[in-house]
Symmetry: C2
Subunit: 210 residues, 2 copies
């Protein structure tokens, strides 16, 4: 029952089709997971035909893999780039708080995609290869914060007897668990873990020079 546009789509500019497919696919993966994701659903939600999907992507796995990798690498780059700025001119405690909350929200963005990867053996294998090639993984975050703590330690702001690598691991993993709980049990669930802020605060008290 379209009254005025018999020849072209219902408002989507033709050149946005590829981007619409990518964005919609990511959205659907995050919302409903990979198990029942169909090309038909992607096409409908993106206001596009299924054929267009196969014009832009070789097949369904190629589309998924592209979306997944991008959905991990993009937030990662943004986050990594923001790190130096976060610490600048702050106390150790404030820097850790700021960094920790950012780390938690990074994981909150990425976890739905990581879970989707685990749902398909082929995808998982390719993803692991790619991540290993790039040398990525949680150790990156641990190393970054460990380096930061080391610097502050030499500057006398962190207690000399603290093992910065262990402290960094505790810190990073608390952020991760916090994000994972929300991911697994849903945002509406009442949080029964100590708040991330309080845990980071307590860790800061342990490592920082008073």
């Amino acid at each position: 029952m379209q009254t005025d546009a018999p020849t072209r789509g219902r408002g989507r500019p033709p050149e946005g089709v590829r981007e619409a497919i990518l964005a919609t696919t990511l959205e659907l993966i995050a919302e409903q997971g990979l198990a029942r994701l169909t090309t038909r659903a992607i096409a409908r939600h993106a206001n596009v035909s299924e054929a267009s999907i196969y014009y832009h992507f070789a097949d369904k796995p190629a589309l998924i893999e592209g979306v997944i990798l991008d959905a991990v690498l993009r937030p990662l780059r943004e986050f990594a780039a923001s790190f130096p700025a976060r610490a600048a001119g702050k106390s150790v405690r404030d820097a850790l708080l700021d960094y920790g909350l950012a780390l938690e929200s990074f994981w909150t963005r990425v976890l739905p995609v990581l879970s989707a990867v685990q749902a398909d053996a082929e995808l998982r294998e390719r993803f692991q290869e790619r991540i290993n090639e790039l040398g990525l993984g949680p150790h990156r975050g641990v190393n970054a914060i460990s380096t930061y703590l080391g610097e502050r330690q030499r500057a006398g702001a962190v207690r000399g007897d603290v093992d910065t690598r262990t402290a960094a691991m505790s810190f990073a993993s608390a952020c991760f668990l916090s994000a994972y709980q929300r991911h697994m049990l849903g945002a509406r669930t009442r949080r029964k873990l100590p708040s991330l802020s309080s845990v980071i605060g307590a860790l800061a008290d342990l490592v920082a020079v008073d």
Copy 2:
């Protein structure tokens, strides 16, 4: 081309069919994920007909849900039951090490299933409901270890100025991150995080009275 058993199966006792279906389904979910799991594959690997699946289970979602829930609750019960025994007569350090490694391997068992849950929106919703009803979640582990540390603190084996809840959170989350990295990047991947033992050891040094 069966030469000797025209009427009955190739060795599976008829009464084991239901169990075989359950075990095989879990195995396949852990191995290849939920996205491409078919009733045909389950039947083949379990050496059973597809029809038998539908005799024992209402439909595919019902089968999956049963398997999933069992695969989380069973290890959880076993693990929870083993906890008191782990701490008995040990130093704080040894108890934490023992508990931590057990916690890591608990997560290693359960994570593949939790990831599968995230791959299907309907499954995720039912799972979250059930978990919330039962009051489960990572906070259980944190509470248990926090209680343990509190007792040892009153006994003088843990430093009085330690916040046991924060320490427990750090401890539990390190175990979780350790397991998650292996889950996500594969067991063969060279571990680039500090070993869990070393992190737990360092945490124990921080909280235990020398």
